[in-house]
């Protein structure tokens, strides 16, 4: 695996390798978290990784930064507002310039779907997709999958319901690919205005209203709904979303025991999830954040120096 561009490209074997690597790293980080001692897994000591973010990000960017640091590497952060992109430089020019400085990988987020693929064709270092348009967000998909396995043992045969703005969600697309490859059955639910056209082509079940899906779910993943002015042609109001699609306390009563709730964050409390639900016992939202670092460590180590990673795993 030279790059991580899309969850759709991964084989079940590759997915399993990444999840297992993350799992091996978990005790080290957990110990650090619990005992307050600094810990690291120095697989990428001395390496430099560029975070090339053409779109705003707080969580994902920080998660990558922490992952880079824990691997002993150093992060070079690039933000469009302070860069030459603001002066009209093209994506490839920017990337070529950065490449000339000799980094060992580029993590890229871009609002245009397919940008990571375009970049990967034009640079010689590994490229990791940190989100491209509505297309994919493979590390988010992997950390969600990891979290589901952590809580449920396996996703094979399990029912995962993704609830929210599916049409504009790279998280949903990456999750759908990974979950289907790992044997889960997936259903999506959204206002029909926020479902992609012909949703059945995604290989999932779909419903316009959540009630019929919630009772069978082992996992409900709520997605963020945004309501900028231009979106009022798709959704009348957040109140209406909350009333008919929100995972309210009332609607959460339909869930069976053991069903867990994920959300890629940040949660619009009272819109996608009621506060009681977001903070309740089913919620694994903060586990997702912790697991995100593990997954990104596993991904970066795999694309930059897989032999060293495998050696480290053997030694654990």
């Amino acid at each position: 695996m030279k790059h991580l561009l899309a969850a759709a490209d991964l084989t079940p074997t590759e997915i399993r390798f990444l999840l297992d690597a993350a799992k091996k790293m978990a005790p080290v980080l957990r110990k650090e978290k619990e005992e307050g001692q600094s810990a690291s897994i120095p697989i990428l000591t001395g390496k430099t990784i560029v975070n090339l973010f053409f779109e705003n990000s707080t969580r994902t960017k920080m998660s990558f930064e922490v992952a880079i640091r824990k691997l002993g590497a150093s992060a070079l952060n690039f933000a469009t507002s302070t860069s030459s992109v603001a002066k009209g430089e093209t994506l490839i020019d920017t990337a070529k310039n950065i490449e000339a400085m000799g980094p060992h990988a580029i993590v890229v987020r871009h609002s245009s779907a397919g940008s990571p693929q375009y970049l990967a064709k034009n640079v010689s270092v590994p490229v990791v997709n940190a989100g491209d348009g509505f297309h994919e967000h493979p590390t988010q998909g992997l950390l969600d999958l990891y979290t589901m396995e952590e809580k449920l043992g396996t996703v094979a045969g399990k029912r995962v319901v993704i609830l929210g703005d599916i049409a504009h969600s790279r998280v949903a697309r990456s999750n759908i690919h990974l979950l289907r490859k790992m044997g889960a059955s997936v259903a999506v639910c959204a206002p029909p205005t926020l479902l992609p056209p012909v949703p059945e082509t995604l290989g999932v079940d779909y419903a316009y209203r959540p009630e019929s899906l919630l009772g069978d779910a082992d996992v409900v993943m709520a997605l963020r709904v945004q309501l900028e002015r231009q979106n009022r042609m798709q959704l009348p109001s957040l109140a209406e979303y909350s009333a008919f699609w929100g995972l309210s306390r009332e609607r959460a009563k339909l869930l069976k025991p053991g069903c867990i709730i994920l959300h890629p964050g940040p949660v619009n409390r009272g819109v996608e999830l009621d506060t009681e639900v977001a903070d309740g016992p089913r919620s694994v939202i903060l586990d997702q954040v912790f697991n995100g670092v593990l997954i990104r460590m596993a991904v970066l180590a795999t694309v930059i120096d897989r032999p060293k990673l495998e050696k480290w795993i053997e030694g654990v």
Binding site: P192, M233, P236
Partner: protein
């Protein structure tokens, strides 16, 4: 009015929902249709009121898909109370009211207001149509889910066509989550422009700005395309043009969920009426040509046009007693719809069964309401018509607050004698 035990004897019972067209006795009790049987077969019991209805026609209570009740906010034109009184007097036991009130019915709160007010004062069932877009402005979706929760059965920006095709597509998509149809006033507003009558040689002659039939044809074609794209049921209001009807034909041929209605005036009047510059003949869409009228009549005859709907559009004197170009569009129609369109039956153009169907089971199906049928056990919504009776539609017998009808003072044939809603007598003439 109290629920009675009524026996209507010897009328022709026409109920297309059960393919019935025979002389029958019909017994109504406790708000329900209790029995329909051969003349004399239902025994008269004590307390039963018997109506001898020889020569009359008993139909399921009529349903009008297209009414403007003007309340809240425009009560100088009409109110829920007066509009529904006119409906009952015209034989309608159910009407659907449009959203262009003041404020516009674009929120759950306005929908709830109309529902509660109707519950308190209405003389017939009021089915609520909410707005598609906020303020009928064609910019943002209205709170469709909330309105449906409060009882709205469909959405429409009637009078203000949604010009943005992206928004209309999204509205149709959104409506699917609530299982409701979109009702479309299909006219391209830009092409309508400042037009006030059909664009034709006559509009040239009269010096009035014309509205080409193409304005309607384009929008019907768009609605059909969007129905095909989204799968959302679309109902085309007051179709006026022969070519527009061809788009409906194609849609139905392709199995799309597209339906249509025609108004009594578009079915019987032509642009020639405008010659007098009488604002009572100013309509939206405008009255068109003889050829269009013939096509529409044929459409109702064959069922290509599913329903007859009045587009009852009350306007005050200040709206209509003005220059033609300044006048508001539309006419009242609830009390005249039956005689005006029954003439098409008398003239042998439309069959009696099809006529009743277009005013009962067809609109009921569209709104998914359990009315429009005299099946035993159903709510007793019923209309009794004397098809031969001549009467004069006068300002005195007009229940609407508004007088904007070209038929005031006209002698008409065919009189609604009795309207029952849930077994209650909501209108009766000499009974």
């Amino acid at each position: 009015m109290k629920t009675e035990s009524l026996l209507i004897k010897n009328a022709r019972v026409v109920d297309p929902s059960q393919k019935l067209n025979e002389i029958r006795d019909i017994w109504v009790d406790e708000g329900k249709i209790r029995a329909i049987d051969k003349p004399g077969a239902i025994p008269v019991k004590p307390g039963m009121r018997v109506i001898e209805a020889n020569g009359m026609i008993t139909m399921p209570g009529l349903i009008d898909l297209h009414v403007h009740l003007r309340e809240p906010g425009l009560e100088y034109k009409e109110s829920i109370e007066t509009g529904t009184l006119a409906a009952a007097a015209g034989g309608f036991s159910s009407i659907a009211c449009m959203a262009n009130t003041l404020p516009v019915n674009d929120t759950p709160y306005v929908t709830a207001y109309i529902r509660e007010k109707a519950k308190a004062v209405a003389a017939c069932r009021v089915h609520i149509v909410g707005a598609v877009t906020r303020g009928l402005k064609g910019e943002e979706l209205a709170e469709i889910g909330g309105m449906v929760r409060e009882g709205a059965l469909a959405i429409s920006d009637d009078g203000m066509p949604v010009m943005n095709s992206y928004l209309m597509r999204k509205a149709m998509d959104y409506a699917k989550a609530f299982g409701i149809p979109i009702i479309s006033h299909a006219e391209d507003a830009n092409l309508v422009g400042k037009g006030v009558m059909n664009e034709s040689a006559l509009s040239n002659e009269l010096g009035l700005r014309g509205i080409p039939a193409a304005a309607e044809e384009i929008m019907i074609a768009r609605e059909v395309a969007l129905a095909r794209l989204t799968g959302c049921p679309v109902h085309i209001q007051h179709i006026s043009s022969a070519i527009g009807l061809e788009h409906i034909r194609r849609a139905k041929h392709d199995g799309l969920p597209v339906t249509a209605e025609a108004s009594p005036h578009h079915l019987t009047l032509t642009e020639e009426c405008v010659r007098s510059y009488d604002t009572a003949y100013k309509m939206s869409p405008p009255l068109r040509t003889e050829k269009d009228v013939e096509a529409l009549q044929d459409g109702v005859k064959t069922g290509l046009i599913d329903a007859i709907a009045t587009d009852h559009a009350p306007h005050g004197v200040i709206d209509k007693a003005v220059e033609f170009s300044e006048a508001s569009n539309g006419i009242i129609g609830l009390q005249t719809a039956v005689p005006i369109t029954f003439k098409l039956v008398s003239d042998g153009i439309i069959s009696l069964d099809r006529w009743v169907e277009s005013l009962t089971v067809a609109p009921a199906k569209l709104l998914k309401i359990p009315y429009g049928s005299l099946r035993v056990g159903n709510a007793a919504d019923l209309t009794l018509l004397d098809p031969k009776r001549e009467w004069k539609f006068t300002a005195e017998c007009n229940h609407s607050k508004s007088q904007n009808s070209p038929f005031i003072g006209h002698s008409l044939t065919g009189k609604v004698m009795l309207t029952l809603v849930n077994g209650d007598v909501k209108f009766s003439e000499n009974f």
